[in-house]
């Protein structure tokens, strides 16, 4: 690491996640940013740069919504950049914050992620009809659930995985969310509840899916010198990774996310992690659908290909298991305000490593955690490794 700069997270904030919140996107951004600053014991004037993470403009209904959100996010009179890598944005935004500080260009960076999906009428899902190729795919009538269903079916087929095993993820995460004060869909449900829920696009059923939500999350990133000044327990960003696969998603075998593996390898290399299952104490893989948690555990090299359902069945991924996975309740339990949801995962790892997660705290004094998000057309992986 000689000559390279370390970057710490010293404060995090998050709003409630709900189907409809009265606050505007600017107001949600403000709340999350303010909380992160307070937790860091800092003020906006201490912040030298701001990064915004937020998903399609079509949700908020404003072209260039990064610009629109700027003052809410604390960017007034500051260098401000919005990064956007689809659903991967929430974990990607703190990576952008990392290079603002690791470059030596700034000592501090406020990273804010916001999503106000409820503004999109009649349903936020409608915004997703324009993520497809306008000439080859939109005329078929593509929608978002379809591609998840195509991927889930392929994953199940390739490894001969049963829906019962996948449903366990939804059961676990919604139960974990009972201990999360921001959660939108915390519940005690059973595998049967998932299997009996409405079929949306086979094999995807209602309870396999996270909801649409409003919400925001934020974190304060600082250089090593500042971290020593403001806190006794900084959490270090020791690895960052990201990767995009080809646009031609119909030309790939969807059973395995190569792009997540490549992103994870990049982050692990930087963090010096050689044996991820052994060295990682807590994980927040992206779980907008229950099978996605499994898919991403495999991509993150936390287990072998096709092995994640078995680990889940054996309880390894429970909060008190060997590899606690989505202790926050994930997107399935907390809700999915897209960029804010990914950032919430980073905040959860931050709090877990600081021992501040209360009822959600995973045992064993965790030292290393990983958060990951997925995005685009079954295509994008963003990974962050945090250490105490």
């Amino acid at each position: 690491m000689f000559g390279k700069k370390r970057v710490a997270i010293v404060g995090a904030g998050v709003t409630l996640f709900r189907r409809n919140l009265k606050e505007t996107g600017k107001e949600l951004s403000f709340h999350a940013a303010k909380m992160a600053l307070e937790q860091a014991g800092m003020e906006l004037r201490d912040i030298q740069s701001v990064v915004m993470g937020t998903a399609p403009d079509a949700f908020d209904g404003v072209h260039m919504k990064g610009e629109y959100l700027a003052d809410g996010a604390g960017a007034y009179h500051k260098p401000y950049t919005r990064v956007f890598v689809g659903g991967g944005t929430g974990v990607f935004a703190p990576l952008a914050g990392w290079w603002h500080v690791a470059s030596g260009k700034f000592d501090t960076c406020l990273v804010v992620c916001e999503e106000k999906m409820s503004s999109c009428y009649p349903h936020p899902q409608y915004a997703f009809t324009t993520i497809f190729d306008p000439i080859l795919e939109r005329p078929i009538g593509m929608n978002l659930i379809w591609i998840f269903a195509l991927e889930m079916n392929r994953y199940m087929h390739k490894h001969n995985i049963k829906k019962e095993d996948i449903a366990l993820v939804s059961v676990k995460n919604k139960r974990n969310a009972l201990d999360n004060p921001i959660a939108q869909l915390a519940a005690n449900i059973t595998v049967e509840d998932v299997l009996n829920s409405e079929i949306m696009a086979w094999p995807v059923q209602r309870l396999d899916v996270s909801p649409t939500s409003d919400g925001a999350a934020a974190a304060v990133l600082v250089s090593e010198d500042i971290a020593k000044e403001v806190t006794d327990n900084p959490v270090w960003i020791d690895g960052v990774g990201w990767c995009i696969d080809s646009t031609y998603w119909t030309d790939r075998d969807l059973y395995y996310p190569d792009y997540v593996e490549y992103a994870a390898r990049m982050a692990y290399k930087m963090a010096g992690i050689k044996n991820p299952p052994k060295e990682i104490d807590v994980a927040e893989p992206y779980d907008p659908f229950d099978y996605k948690e499994l898919h991403h555990m495999e991509g993150l090299l936390l287990c072998k290909k096709g092995e994640a359902p078995k680990l889940t069945r054996e309880g390894v991924t429970q909060r008190d298991g060997d590899l606690p996975t989505c202790p926050s309740g994930g997107l399935l339990g907390c809700g999915n305000p897209i960029a804010a949801a990914g950032m919430m995962k980073v905040c959860e790892i931050f709090w877990q490593l600081r021992g501040e997660a209360g009822k959600r705290q995973v045992p064993g004094d965790p030292r290393t955690g990983v958060a990951q998000a997925w995005g685009d057309l079954m295509q994008y992986g963003s990974v962050i490794v945090l250490r105490r």
């Binding site: 390279k4 072209h63 610009e67 260098p79 990774g241 990767c243 995009i244 646009t247 995005g375």
Partner: protein, 385 residues
């Protein structure tokens, strides 16, 4: 920490329309040129990070990031999208290399303005949905508001603004990358239709299609790839406020703050003396003058007079927009910033042909994200390390 250099540039366009190529094919062509220009690098192996700069509604997609990797050689590699002007992409590449983890970073931005059938409606869709959008009207009234206040506060004349158009379109005649070069007279500009008083039709640049790809590298890689590296001496960027109600309507505060950041890094104490030529965002003619002042290239309120006196002409003391600017090249939307950077690179390499500025060592590139934003960026580039 390593210095950062631009080691390759590729440009397609700018042209009023490009119906023969898809946006992907436009990007492919520019990328191939840039990689060749950077000593023939292979993007599948030699590039650490790719940065594209795009806004969804300018492309007609909800997540445009999906559609960019293949044509840049970035499939299964490390790519990201900045929702912003290309110069924010340059700033991102600069920071990435400065971390010490990455040696070669590619930046791409393009305009396929001719694919957008309702461009002004999209611009309007960028206005605050509660306060401003319900008032209706063509969104460029905001430029009229600003120009009027600027003239009122500074005493700059309408004729002085019109001089910018005459100069830039004339420079563009010499630029093969320019779509709208012309020899026109001051009178023609002054007599063109008054669209958003006091802003006139010929003072508004017309969108054009094109794509620009840059290759940036760390010091040790740059010197292997090229004999003519162009060093990034300083970058700055800033957002003033999205609010129309509370912004400064005369001084382009976003540009002032961005310039201060870039100058500090580049150790520029006297911009007029230290900078040999400048490429300044001129989507509206008055903006060139307002931005010159915000960039501290001259005193507040004096840019009009300097322009009138010919000091910013190609053979003047401080040539401004030798490329022809956006008025002459065409408005490349999110590629605007890279249009500016491209010209500065060509000038500093001595490859600007008939519009070459003599003995240029330090050039300035500046951009603004357009209506309705108050966001801008500045880069100081030099052919001397």
């Amino acid at each position: 920490m390593s210095e950062v250099a631009i080691v390759g540039v590729g440009c397609v366009g700018f042209r009023p329309i490009t119906p023969e190529l898809s946006y992907k094919e436009l990007m492919f062509e520019a990328a191939v040129k840039a990689y060749e220009d950077a000593g023939g690098i292979n993007p599948r192996e030699d590039v650490d990070v790719f940065v594209t700069c795009a806004e969804d509604y300018l492309e007609g997609f909800s997540i445009f990031d999906e559609f960019v990797p293949d044509q840049l050689g970035a499939a299964l590699r490390h790519l990201l999208t900045v929702s912003g002007d290309g110069m924010l992409g340059l700033a991102t590449a600069y920071m990435l290399i400065k971390t010490g983890y990455f040696d070669t970073v590619v930046v791409e931005a393009h305009s396929k303005a001719s694919d957008i059938l309702t461009y002004m409606d999209i611009v309007q869709f960028g206005l605050d949905p509660i306060f401003n959008r319900p008032l209706g009207g063509h969104p460029y009234y905001i430029a009229g508001l600003e120009m009027n206040r600027y003239l009122h506060e500074t005493g700059t004349t309408e004729e002085q603004c019109a001089e910018v158009v005459v100069k830039n379109k004339k420079n563009a005649v010499l630029n093969p990358h320019a779509a709208y070069g012309a020899n026109i007279t001051l009178n023609q500009v002054m007599c063109s239709e008054r669209l958003f008083h006091p802003l006139k039709k010929l003072e508004i640049s017309t969108p054009a299609d094109g794509c620009i790809v840059l290759v940036l590298a760390s010091e040790k890689v740059a010197e292997k790839l090229t004999d003519k590296p162009v060093w990034v001496k300083g970058v700055g960027w800033c957002t003033e406020t999205p609010s129309l109600e509370t912004r400064d309507w005369t001084r382009a505060v976003y540009t002032r703050l961005a310039a201060e950041m870039a100058y500090k890094e580049a150790k520029i104490s006297n911009p007029w003396r230290d900078i040999d030529f400048a490429e300044i965002h001129d989507v509206f003619a008055y903006k060139e003058l307002q931005h010159m002042e915000a960039l501290k290239l001259c005193d507040y309120g004096t840019a009009g007079k300097l322009t009138e006196d010919g000091l910013t002409a190609l053979d003047g003391e401080l040539p401004v927009n030798p490329s022809g600017g956006l008025l002459g090249m065409g408005y490349g939307l999110e590629a605007s910033g890279l249009q500016k950077v491209l010209e500065v690179v060509l000038q500093l390499r001595g490859e600007a042909g008939a519009r070459q500025v003599e003995d240029a060592q330090v050039g300035l590139a500046h951009t603004w994200r357009g209506i309705p934003t108050a966001t801008g960026a500045v880069a100081v580039l030099s052919n001397v390390k």
